[in-house]
């Protein structure tokens, strides 16, 4: 899904300059814990987050995430936008909640990052096999 379509689906706004709206995102992830972002995403994921500090951009850079949507109408501070522009990461804003922002994109066909071995391990440990 192109960022252009993402923007339309969430009635969003672009926060960074020189943003390539033809950028393709392959899947989505909603998270406010940075370790979760690192553990439960793949290259090319679109990140939805309510956190706006510059570390979100750093985390995205490490995880190979090229675009972030800030939910609940949160606007990041200038240093976050500056860092994103330096790293070539697109920042978008959505006035909707995390649930609705993710829901609109999922409904339109943007898939999730799938199941992860670490989640299944905990699941099996608690619920037994199957």
């Amino acid at each position: 899904m192109k960022l252009r379509e993402v923007l339309q689906l969430i009635d969003g706004k672009v926060l960074t300059r020189n943003t390539d709206l033809d950028l393709e995102v392959r899947m989505g992830c909603g998270a406010d814990l940075m370790s979760d972002v690192l553990a439960f995403t793949h290259e090319g994921t679109l990140l939805m987050s309510g956190l706006t500090n510059p570390q979100v951009v750093r985390t995205a850079e490490m995880a190979g995430i090229q675009a972030i949507v800030f939910v609940r109408g949160k606007i990041p501070p200038p240093e976050t936008i500056a860092l994103a522009e330096e790293k070539g990461i697109a920042l978008l804003a959505s006035k909707y909640t995390m649930f609705e922002t993710c829901g609109r994109l999922y409904k339109a066909g943007l898939p999730s990052c799938g199941l992860f071995e670490s989640s299944l391990k905990r699941w099996r440990e608690f619920f037994g096999e199957e």
Partner: protein, 318 residues
């Protein structure tokens, strides 16, 4: 009966199938547009085909496409002895078109379902921007495969090249980064520089991502819990060996620290999205080997190893 495909062939076929979805009509179409008008005679049209070595053209009147005409229409006119007829009389009006931003798979579908030899390509504003024949699709796919093959070659070459150019029985490249304690402003800068360096060395992107995530979690631990330390990466032809060291305060109970969800992070760190007790388990998931040593009051040393031949293994996912 045909022989079953080998794993290598299956990969190539899958890649081709993906490509017809990834590539757009505009990536394959011919943009050098040769057109005729409805007033062009069939005799003149024959010359256009001959000179340009093509088999059909769109018909354009006052900048607007009104039809399409092909070598088949020419042959029919020839057979009927109508060389002085006009293109306007013999063309197919209102031809089926493709949009330039449609995936190539749509074009493949239209070629096989409609049986036409060519499709004019228009943009979303309705302007004629190119023409697509079946051969263009094959050429575009081959071109793209070649580009990807070349990129892979360059990557392999660069990675092996550095080690091959250095003449020694054993080569290890060592990168050292200082990490300041408590400096949230610049936290992550060391890992960011390491990630860039490894990419430039030509290491596989999947390996680079795993090293970057492990390095970043380790760097954040130094920033959050210590007065500062260092991140050191040693790269040899087999592996990336990462060490994160600091001068204290040290971890009292390593086993507890390794438990997912266990954290001693202060509230302000948690507000920034860190300190959820997932850092060390994340590092373990991303690395092939991990050793943690710590002495309270002295410092902590975290060693991590990622094998370079483990590109197939993504970070902790299925």
């Amino acid at each position: 009966m045909s022989a079953p495909l080998s794993a290598q062939q299956k990969r190539e076929v899958t890649r081709l199938q993906e490509l017809v979805y990834e590539l757009r009509v505009r990536d394959a179409m011919t943009t050098r547009l040769i057109t005729v008008t409805p007033q062009t005679t069939i005799a003149e049209f024959r010359e256009v085909l001959r000179v340009n070595r093509i088999s059909g053209t769109p018909v354009v009147q006052e900048g607007r496409m009104v039809g399409i005409i092909s070598i088949e229409d020419l042959i029919k006119a020839l057979a009927a002895g109508q060389m002085n007829a006009t293109v306007g009389e013999k063309m197919t009006p209102n031809p089926v078109t493709l949009y330039d931003d449609e995936p190539l798979i749509h074009a493949v579908g239209k070629f096989s379902s409609l049986g036409y030899g060519r499709f004019p390509v228009i943009n979303r504003q309705g302007d004629l921007v190119g023409i697509l024949v079946q051969g263009d699709i094959v050429r575009a796919l081959l071109r793209q495969l070649e580009v990807e093959y070349h990129e892979e070659e360059v990557r392999r070459y660069r990675a092996s090249h550095i080690f091959e150019d250095i003449l020694a029985d054993q080569v290890t490249l060592r990168f050292r980064y200082r990490v300041a304690g408590g400096d949230f402003e610049r936290a992550g800068e060391a890992s960011s520089r390491l990630k860039k360096t490894l990419s430039r060395l030509g290491i596989h992107p999947r390996i680079v991502r795993r090293v970057a995530i492990a390095a970043y979690e380790a760097e954040m631990n130094i920033v959050i819990y210590t007065d500062g330390g260092e991140l050191i990466a040693e790269v040899d032809p087999k592996q990336v060996y990462l060490v994160a060291v600091d001068q204290g305060p040290g971890i009292p109970d390593i086993q507890k620290a390794m438990e997912p969800g266990f954290s001693t992070a202060p509230e302000w760190v948690r507000e920034m999205g860190f300190g959820a007790g997932m850092g060390l388990p994340n590092i373990q998931n991303c690395t092939d080997e991990m050793r943690l040593e710590s002495t309270v009051g002295v410092g902590t040393r975290l060693e991590m190893v990622i094998y370079l031949d483990s590109a197939g293994r993504p970070c902790s996912s299925l």
